[in-house]
Each structure stands twice: as structure tokens, then as C-alpha cells.
């Protein structure tokens, strides 16, 4: 079809924001819209800030917002966060994966056996490649289990709830059976770094370098987006918005790095390292870096790749996706495979953290993962959900637990609070969305 020329006027589409004097309270949303800020994300950040400040005020000795507690919080969040990113894509396609906790146990057990029983015999104890081989085994096994379950869902047509409920029972049993219920410990020395702990961190200097690199990344992304829009003569995000976003984004990153870097190696360990009396920053923990890396890669997959677009299309309208020529069944299998891969990665982090594998590994974890995705704005109706939302959801949940532990609240009451927050978060989201639709 011949393309018709479009005049410049027709290309100048979105209404410019009203001049400042015309802006009332009502147009705050307009303001955010012209700045292209995701208001839901902003809402979640606000909720997180409120939770943090509240706990800081009510915890004894105000220990919540300390480098030590925040550092621990970051490590505790990582495992659920890694898996929640995969769960978003599963739920977006109107499916569910109830088996992630059990798969974690089975894969974790397998990884423990590989590095504890098999590899020492083949390549020797504490071989530098032990952790690489172990992680590779975990990723492959996780992906294979995911692909298997996904195939039953997509090609046979068994509801994912049923398939993964079966998986929930099967893989837990398999995990027990692999070592007859015994605990396998300890883990390989290098492998253990994946779990964080005092040795599993990049140190203060590297944390700063990574923080600065992240800032550079934020600004570069903004520039590349502007350049691309410029090429087609599209509207640009107003300059004030660009600068504000860059400043807030970079500021937050550097502030967090600086804050976490003030968590120092305990004096006894510092003395062991021959640096008695010095403040040695632990820096960012490997599991946290893994979770951030996973978040970036998954966001890229979800928003910049055809696979991601297909996932959201299937969630929005499965029939339309099929009619548009999307290979819907293959896409579903891929979401489950990706989920399995991430479970494998999370299992590696988890057994490294515990320095052991037990068949009860990850018990109840599936619910935390699903809750994180849902608190992060993923809708069970399908088609809606973001990776960064799920990461924030995981952080919000872990913040609640961490704060309540500091307050000495008992576990059953913690569950009650988290449960209420889950329902409340979705309720608020539903109400706001209904209002926005009007």
C-alpha cells in the first residue's frame, strides 16, 4: 500500500500540558502523564517509603533504617524477587505456577548432590569450576522442569493450576527422595558466595563503581530514547521531566549504595582479615546484584522483545493473539521455561545462603512469589503487570516481615499482617484502576 505523506501538523499529536497557571490539583495526573511517569509505580514507591519510615519510628532504638538492617533486607528479598519476575509473565498470560517452591527444593537438592557428592570425585574438592558446573546443572534442570510443565499446559490443554499443583506435590517428593530426606551440607566455598554473607559481596569500591555505572546507564537510556524519537519527529518528554528523572534516579541509586556501604565487616572478621580496627564495607551482596541483573534482563525481555509483546498480547486477548499469527502455545511454554530457569537460579542462591540443601527448601515460597507479583500490580485477569513492580512487591513484603521481626511480633501475626496487606494492595489497585477507566 502506498504511504501517503502526512503533514507535520498531523504528526504533532499529544496535547501539550496546560500552561502552569492553568494547572489545578486535578491536572496533577496530566503533569505526570506529560512527564511519562508511571503513577502506579510511584504509588508503590510511596507505599514502600511509608512502610520504611513507619517502622523506623516504631522499632525499638529505631533500628529499621540502619545500614545493617537494610543490607539484610536486600539479601532476604533477592530470592523471592528473582522468581517473582518470572511469575509476572506467567500470570500475565492468565496462568499460574504453584510449583516454584517444590521445584526449588528438587533443583536445589540436585545442585547440592552434584557439588557435594559427584564433583569432588570427578574434578576434586574445591575445584574453581565447581560452582559454574553446579549452577549450570541447576539452570538446565529448572528450565527442563518448567518446559515440561509448560508443554502439558500449552499443548495438552490441562489448566496450569492443576499441572503445577501436581508439580507442587511431585517435585517436593522428588526432593525428599533424592537424599532420603537428609540434609546435604556444606556447599562449595566459591558457590557459597552466591548466597551473600560476609564473603559474598563485591566490597565498597566495586559497589560505588556499579552505582556510578547504573547512573550512566539511566542517562544513556534517556538520551537514546530522545534520539530515537527525534528521528521520527515525535513529541519529546519535557526537558524539566528528563532532568528531574535523571537527578532523582541517580540520586536514589547513589544514596542507596552509600547507605549500604556503611554496613561494615564485624570487627572480629576484620581483625581476621588483618585489618583490625578498620571499617571495611561489605558492599552489595551477590544475590542482590543477581536479582537486579535479573530484573533488568527480564524488563528488557518483557518490553523490548517480540516474545514479551506476545506474552502481553496473549494475556490481553488470547484469541486475538492467535488470530494475529502469534505462536501462542510456544510462547506459553517459553514463559514456563523461563520461570523454571529463574527457579534454578533462585535455588542456587538459596542453598548457597543456607550452606545446605534440605528437602523442605522453599516451602511456601510459591505463595510469597505470587504475592510479590500481585502486590507489584500484576493482574490475574491477564495482560497487566511489570517486572519492576514485582521487584518492588517483593521488597514491600520483605520490609513488612523484617520490620515485624524487629518489633518482636510472632510469626502467626506476621502472616496475618502480610495477608491483609496483600488483599488491601489489590483492593486499592482495583479501585484506582476502575476510577481511571471512567
Amino acid at each position: 500500500m502506498a504511504e501517503t505523506k502526512v503533514s507535520a501538523a498531523e504528526r504533532e499529536p499529544e496535547a501539550q500540558p496546560a500552561p502552569p497557571e492553568e494547572r489545578g490539583k486535578r491536572s496533577l495526573r496530566e503533569l505526570f502523564r506529560s512527564a511519562e511517569v508511571d503513577t502506579r509505580l510511584l504509588g508503590m514507591l510511596a507505599a514502600l517509603a511509608i512502610i520504611w519510615i513507619l517502622f523506623q519510628i516504631i522499632t525499638p532504638n529505631h533500628t529499621f533504617l540502619t545500614p545493617r538492617n537494610m543490607w539484610n533486607l536486600s539479601v532476604q528479598t533477592a530470592v523471592v524477587a528473582i522468581m517473582a519476575t518470572g511469575m509476572v509473565l506467567i500470570i500475565v498470560t492468565r496462568n499460574i505456577d504453584l510449583s516454584v517452591g517444590a521445584v526449588m527444593a528438587a533443583v536445589g537438592m540436585a545442585m547440592a548432590i552434584v557439588q557435594h557428592d559427584w564433583l569432588p570425585e570427578w574434578i576434586g574438592l574445591d575445584h574453581p569450576l565447581t560452582w559454574v558446573i553446579t549452577v549450570a546443572v541447576g539452570l538446565v534442570l529448572g528450565a527442563a522442569i518448567g518446559a515440561f510443565q509448560g508443554t502439558i499446559v500449552a499443548y495438552v490443554g490441562v489448566p496450569s493450576f492443576i499441572v503445577t499443583l501436581g508439580g507442587f506435590l511431585v517435585w517436593r517428593g522428588v526432593a525428599w527422595w533424592m537424599a532420603s530426606g537428609q540434609t546435604i551440607a556444606p556447599m562449595d566455598t566459591l558457590f557459597r558466595k552466591l548466597g551473600g554473607g560476609s564473603t559474598g559481596t563485591v566490597g565498597g569500591t566495586w559497589s560505588w563503581i556499579l552505582g556510578i555505572a547504573a547512573c550512566a546507564g539511566i542517562v544513556m537510556l534517556q538520551f537514546s530514547k530522545r534520539r530515537q524519537r527525534n528521528r521520527y519527529g515525535f513529541r519529546q518528554r519535557p526537558m524539566w521531566a528528563e532532568v528531574t528523572i535523571a537527578v532523582i534516579g541517580c540520586g536514589a541509586v547513589l544514596l542507596l549504595v552509600g547507605f549500604l556501604n556503611r554496613y561494615y565487616l564485624p570487627p572480629a572478621l576484620a581483625a581476621q582479615a588483618g585489618k583490625a580496627g578498620q571499617n571495611i564495607s561489605l558492599g552489595l551482596a551477590y544475590p542482590v546484584l543477581i536479582a537486579i541483573g535479573v530484573g533488568i534482563v527480564m524488563t528488557f525481555i518483557a518490553t523490548r522483545r517480540r516474545f514479551g509483546r506476545s506474552v502481553y498480547a496473549i494475556g490481553g486477548n488470547p484469541e486475538a493473539a492467535e488470530l494475529a499469527g502469534i505462536k501462542t502455545r510456544r510462547t506459553i511454554v517459553r514463559t514456563f521455561t523461563l520461570m523454571g530457569l529463574l527457579v534454578g537460579l533462585a535455588a542456587a542462591v538459596q542453598i548457597a545462603r543456607l550452606n545446605a540443601a534440605v528437602s523442605s527448601l522453599g516451602t511456601g515460597m510459591e505463595l510469597n512469589v505470587i504475592a510479590a507479583a500481585v502486590i507489584g500490580g500484576t493482574s490475574f485477569a491477564g495482560g497487566v503487570g511489570t517486572i519492576v513492580g514485582a521487584l518492588l512487591g517483593a521488597l514491600i513484603m520483605q520490609s513488612l516481615v523484617s520490620g515485624m521481626v524487629l518489633l518482636g511480633i510472632e510469626a502467626p501475626l506476621q502472616d496475618i499482617v502480610v495477608g491483609i496487606v496483600l488483599v488491601l494492595a489489590v483492593t486499592l489497585d482495583t479501585i484506582f484502576r476502575r476510577r481511571a477507566a471512567r
Binding site: Y312, G315, N317
Partner: protein, 261 residues
């Protein structure tokens, strides 16, 4: 008047589709020439949509043959149809409501950069150009199509169908959800596309929707083809008699026609 001396663009021969024991379409044969609009009309459940879904790849025929440019083809998936230049605008529009207009226009056929990443700017640019032609008032390129009006959603569905150099266009009740102005706009577009040499199947349950636009009219009743007539040879009442009574213009009496009103 369309030139029908050459080879038909598309032919559906003896198409048969059954759901369980119900014969939705029985031995129906229709054809379509370049630069022609064929109105496919019939009451609810007459089998129009089912028939045409075999051409768009949404549902396979149980038996029968589909020919494109005189060559027998196998269409078992919408992808096959699109590869042959058959584009379909479904009655429910088949849009992914959570995705924006450019995303829907290019759904399943996204433009990518050389690294295989989605090229959202290029897709938006192409969609803007397309809309400049189809519906210049359309300006909502960055919001999910769920928030668009019926007419705007229709524009998105049409844009998707015409962007990929379709040769055969299937429009299922294209104006059912539209107001008068938008209906006229779709009508103008159909005429324009016909001028460009496309063959168009126009499906409707209401003869008045398609009478003016059609060159020929094929009427279905209870899964069977009543007949295909040149529009210039018949009145709307005579087509109505075909739709309701299943009688061809020669067979119909004045009494029949009187009873229709």
C-alpha cells in the same frame, strides 16, 4: 463494473464445515475478483462467518478447496492466510486491549531493529502515516486500545488489515458498532481500496449495510448458498427474499415480496 473475465483472486469451492452434528456450512462455493466487493449476507447463524473463517485461517474447513490466483492452497492457521495476502477484520475486531494502537497494528509482525529488539518508534511512525490516510482525527497512539472509542478501535483493526499489502480483505460486520459519520468513512475506505485493486468480502446480516458498496451479493441461508447475484440485476427487496425465504429473484412472487414488509 468489475472485469470478471480473468482469473478470480480467491475461490472457495464446495466448502463444508460441521460443528459436532451441526452443518454450519454445506457445499458453499463463492469467488472474488480483483477490484471487486462481494457482499456476503444472510441472517444470524446462516454460516457467513464460519465460511469466511476458513479463508482467514481461523477455522479449517472439513472439506472443499480454497484457491488463490487459481492455485489450490492450504490455510490451516491465520499465518498461512496472511502469507497469501488475506487479511481479516473480525467482527469483534480481535484487538489486544492492553496494548497500544501501533502494538496492535503490528501484532505478530512487529518491526524490529537489527538486534531483534522491538522498534516501537518505527511502528508508531508507520501507524501515524497509516492513520493519516484512514482516520486523520485518530491521535491516541500511546494508550491501550481498551480506552478508545468503538470507531477508533475499528480504525486500528482496519489499519492492521491494510498495512501489510493485503490483496484480499475480509470485513465481518465492519460498521456494526459505528455511528453514521464513521460508517460513511469506512464506506469511503472500501471504495478506495477497491479502486486500488483489492478484492473485498463484506459480511453483514443487513443487506442495507452492503448493498451500495457491493458489486455482487452472495446470500446464505441455513449453511447453504442461496445464490450469487449482480447487484445491478436486483433490488434490495429481492435480496431480502433470498435472505429470508431462500428464493432467487426469478422464483419470487409479488405475494412473497409483500409478506416481507
Amino acid at each position: 463494473m468489475t472485469d470478471r473475465s480473468g482469473r478470480p483472486l480467491a475461490e472457495l469451492r464446495d466448502i463444508r464445515v460441521a460443528f459436532g452434528g451441526v452443518h454450519a456450512v454445506q457445499d458453499v462455493t463463492v469467488d472474488l475478483y480483483p477490484g471487486e466487493v462481494v457482499g456476503l449476507v444472510g441472517g444470524n447463524g446462516a454460516g457467513k462467518t464460519t465460511l469466511i473463517r476458513t479463508l482467514s485461517g481461523a477455522h479449517p474447513a472439513d472439506s472443499g478447496q480454497i484457491l488463490i490466483d487459481g492455485e489450490p492452497v492450504t490455510i490451516s492457521h491465520p499465518r498461512d492466510a496472511k502469507a497469501l495476502g488475506v487479511e481479516t477484520i473480525y467482527q469483534n475486531l480481535a484487538l489486544a486491549d492492553n496494548i497500544d494502537a501501533p502494538g496492535n497494528v503490528f501484532l505478530g509482525r512487529e518491526l524490529t531493529t537489527r538486534f531483534g529488539n522491538l522498534d516501537d518508534s518505527a511502528m508508531e511512525d508507520a501507524t501515524r502515516k497509516l492513520m493519516g490516510r484512514l482516520n486523520p482525527k485518530f491521535q491516541n497512539f500511546v494508550v491501550p486500545v481498551a480506552s478508545l472509542s468503538g470507531g477508533q478501535r475499528q480504525s486500528v483493526a482496519i489499519a492492521r488489515a491494510v498495512h501489510f499489502n493485503a490483496r484480499i480483505l475480509i470485513m465481518d460486520e465492519p460498521t456494526a458498532a459505528l455511528g453514521p459519520a464513521e460508517t460513511r468513512q469506512v464506506g469511503d475506505l472500501i471504495k478506495q481500496l477497491r479502486e486500488e485493486g483489492l478484492g473485498i468480502f463484506l459480511i453483514s446480516h443487513d443487506i442495507h449495510d452492503v448493498y451500495d458498496l457491493s458489486d455482487r451479493i452472495s446470500v446464505m441461508l441455513q449453511g447453504k448458498l442461496v445464490g450469487t447475484v449482480n447487484k445491478t440485476d436486483v433490488t434490495t427487496d429481492e435480496v431480502l427474499a433470498m435472505i429470508i425465504l431462500g428464493k432467487l429473484p426469478g422464483e419470487v412472487t409479488q405475494k412473497d415480496l409483500a409478506e416481507l414488509h
